[in-house]
């Protein structure tokens, strides 16, 4: 670790109450008992939905392929052994409703989970084979975005990259799943990172960890020291605990000093970014050909009796996760998938755990905007908080006045909706939503504008 413990991004940012103490010291626990039923939506990633290869009544073993990758998508595997129920539309945490394969658990010696043995030749594999294994394992970005990992690792031919950035910042309040994974699977994360570095052809790996997780950084450093470098230098950089430190642009700026221009991908400045949980899954895929079957999710918040970091099969009903954590408290009122800054509110617990869900935060008390909001007093706090130097105040005033097209100079089109502006707004204005409206309108206007 370098002595630069204060690396961070250039401007803006906020300091929400971390609320991580409830689970930061709790090792990852396996869901027990395993779920009686899992619901696996065919679309849990950005891209085309998977195509089922099983039908109603089929018996499947944990680890077995149940839906094939289609187009830009990834395949899906049975996360428990059991019997396939009718494949139909079921509630989905982000898509409202989507085609879903439901499996009811069958405890039968003939339906033991598939075994995945180590491929002893895994270090010698070529790029194409490694990418294929990553895709076939159904791996997507596990930090929340759920972009298929094999696609993120396939760069356009003109791209020149020199660094892989591994994101262990976990800047969202309440969440500790990456924190505990960095402690529990530090060596696997390092090896997974080396695999990805080899695929994109770089020799530098920088892992960014926020200062409040210095213990995790120690584990990673120890794992680096114990491992063979195989020509790839891995370093751990402590970054300042500051939201949105874990956003791609902000982390890349902190670790490499390079600014990613608006609406460009990190490879534009020679960097690829992957999450720590994705790195661990990549190792499983390449070394053992083990598909993505489980994920770690932090179940926490003031509305949960016993907050925990839980590893559960994909498709587990959120109800089972909550029951494993002692159930909800009577004053539980809001259910957030992901962290409270960028996560989305869910209407009910009757929903499956999906690949991109790193947290389930149960909040009490009144939500933002439940009582409306007040006029902008132009205090400037949102401008100060914006990591991109945009002006949410001006955008919101103009959208309210019905002059959305005049918001162009204030930068809504660059906004990636981190929510820092809304977090600090004393008038409780839904600034992110105003930015979304402006962004959509401006994009549409740009598309319909006749080309000169």
């Amino acid at each position: 670790m370098s002595g630069h413990a204060r690396k961070t991004f250039g401007r803006g940012g906020v300091h929400p109450e971390p609320h991580k103490e409830a689970t930061a010291h709790r090792p990852i626990e396996d869901l027990d008992p395993p779920p009686a039923e899992v619901r696996l939506p065919l679309l849990q990633h950005l891209g085309s939905p998977a195509v089922p290869v099983v039908k109603k009544g089929d018996l499947v073993r944990r680890g077995q392929l149940i839906a094939e990758a289609e187009g830009t998508g990834v395949p899906l595997h049975a996360s428990i052994s059991g019997k396939v129920k009718p494949i139909d539309k079921r509630p989905h945490p982000t898509l409202v409703s989507a085609e879903t394969i439901t499996i009811t658990r069958v405890d039968d010696p003939d339906l033991m989970p598939l075994e995945f043995e180590e491929d002893l030749q895994w270090r010698g594999l070529g790029t194409t084979e490694m990418l294929l294994r990553i895709r076939d394992a159904g791996i997507v970005g596990m930090g929340g975005a759920a972009f298929p990992t094999h696609r993120k690792l396939q760069l356009p031919p003109q791209a020149r990259v020199d660094t892989l950035v591994v994101n262990g910042a976990e800047c969202e309040p309440y969440l500790t799943s990456d924190h505990r994974l960095m402690i529990g699977r530090s060596a696997d994360i390092i090896e997974g990172a080396r695999i990805m570095a080899r695929i994109i052809g770089v020799t530098e790996v920088a892992i960014g960890v926020e200062e409040d997780k210095a213990d995790a950084a120690e584990y990673l450093i120890a794992a680096i020291e114990e491992s063979e470098p195989h020509g790839i230098r891995v370093r751990v950089d402590l970054v300042r605990t500051r939201y949105p430190q874990g956003a791609e642009k902000q982390l890349v700026q902190a670790l490499t000093g390079r600014a990613i221009p608006p609406r460009r991908l990190p490879h534009h400045v020679g960097v690829v970014v992957q999450n720590v949980a994705t790195a661990a899954a990549v190792l499983d895929a390449v070394r053992y050909r083990r598909p993505l079957l489980d994920r770690v999710v932090t179940v926490t918040g003031p509305g949960v009796r016993h907050p925990r970091n839980v590893r559960a099969p994909l498709g587990t009903p959120l109800t089972d996760l909550v029951d494993f954590c002692g159930g909800l408290l009577p004053d539980a009122r809001r259910l957030i998938a992901g962290g409270p800054m960028m996560g989305r509110a869910l209407p009910r617990l009757d929903l499956p755990l999906v690949k991109g869900m790193n947290g389930l935060v149960v909040l009490t008390g009144e939500g933002p905007f439940e009582n409306g909001y007040d006029p902008c007093v132009q205090c400037g706090r949102c401008i100060e908080a914006c990591p991109l130097g945009l002006q949410p105040d001006q955008v919101s005033i103009r959208v309210e006045a019905g002059k959305t097209l005049s918001t162009e100079p204030y930068g809504a089109i660059d906004c990636y909706e981190c929510g820092s502006c809304t977090f600090v707004c004393p008038s409780g204005r839904p600034l992110v939503q105003f930015m979304q409206v402006a962004k959509t309108t401006l994009r549409r206007a740009a598309e319909t504008r006749p080309k000169p």
Binding site: P16, P347, L363, G367, F369
Partner: protein, 335 residues
């Protein structure tokens, strides 16, 4: 474990949940909290004004605040706005206006001032957040135009014994004396009770809230410490005033003898009517300072801060257009 008991005593956990857009957590500061902090930190200086000038000052305070609240209530009714009386902003306008008024102004004039400040200074623009000018100072300008005599002769010599305003001795303010009769006369009215008591404790003629520089400063320090007010604008105002008045022979009198502190910390910093970007704020503050000094030294009024702020308010939207935050795209180049 008492889990069983807890479950019996309490209602069942919910099965449906409230869906609101994110982010789902908030910083604790709200506009109403900010306004009440401003009011709270102004209170000591206002109460000191009552202690120094007597009950007349209390009537002016009550009248002005009542007028402002009445104006807000009327506007809410007329425009079908939701209740904004408790957000502290109308109260703040009334309080600030009163603090700029002479202690002997009739209470009903103060009430009219408060009413005018809210209705014409704020509500006709669309209410909180939409006004171009500082409402309290609009109220003051209205009173200056409507009751010029009461507004320029309603000053009273300090009387620490809480006498009623009726038998108080009227006098002129230090800055008025400086303008009309020169430095010596101004110093004389201040050092009636000793020079530093006059300047620092506020035992001198002046408007209700301006005289205790120490209490205004303490209040402002609390706002700065809480991050409600930044020092950029006040320091620029002081710098601008100092620049103009430095060579008049009475720079200290200009800094301490009028309403500069109240204006710089509590009125020039009004969020709605001041620029949001630092460079814009520096220009805005300097402009206020320069105008204040200019009006005081060469203009027709002994005190200039009120009109200086109003004039700078008019420029504030333009300053926000000229000075923009730097977009991150332009910070640093890809290596």
């Amino acid at each position: 474990m008492s889990d069983g008991l807890v479950q019996i005593d309490n209602p069942e956990p919910p099965t449906t949940f409230v869906v609101t857009p994110g982010p789902h957590v908030r910083a604790s500061e709200s506009t109403a909290r900010i306004m009440w902090w401003v009011n709270g930190t102004l209170a000591p200086a206002a109460l000191w004004g009552v202690a120094v000038f007597g009950l007349g000052a209390a009537l002016v305070l009550a009248g002005s605040i009542a007028g402002a609240l009445a104006g807000e209530a009327i506007a809410n009714r007329l425009m079908n706005h939701r209740g904004t009386l408790r957000d502290g902003s109308a109260f703040c306008t009334g309080l600030l206006l009163a603090m700029t008024l002479p202690p002997l102004l009739p209470w009903w004039a103060a009430l009219l001032g408060g009413l005018f400040a809210i209705l014409v200074g704020k509500s006709i623009f669309g209410g909180l957040g939409f006004n171009l000018f500082n409402p309290a100072l609009i109220g003051r300008a209205f009173l200056m135009a409507s009751f010029p005599v009461a507004m320029t002769t309603g000053w009273v010599a300090p009387s620490p014994w809480l006498r009623a305003g009726l038998d108080a001795v009227t006098t002129a303010t230090p800055l008025a004396l400086l303008k009309e009769h020169g430095f010596a006369a101004a110093m004389k009215v201040i050092s009636g009770s000793g020079w530093w008591q006059g300047m620092v404790l506020g035992l001198r003629p002046g408007s209700i809230g301006e005289v205790s520089v120490v209490l205004v400063l303490l209040g402002a320090a609390v706002l700065v410490a809480r991050g409600i007010v930044s020092l950029t604008i006040p320091l620029s105002v002081f710098a601008g005033t100092a620049l103009v008045t430095a060579f008049t022979g009475a720079p200290l009198l200009h800094v301490l003898g009028g309403g500069l502190w109240l204006g710089a910390f509590y009125m020039a910093t009004d969020y709605v009517t001041s620029p949001t970007q630092r460079n814009g704020q520096i220009l805005y503050g300097l402009l206020i300072g320069l105008l204040t000094g200019t009006i005081r030294v060469w203009g027709g009024y002994p005190e200039g801060i009120c009109y200086a702020i109003l004039l700078a308010n008019a420029l504030s939207p333009a300053l926000d257009q000229w000075f923009r935050p730097r977009r991150v795209a332009s910070m640093g180049t890809p290596s």
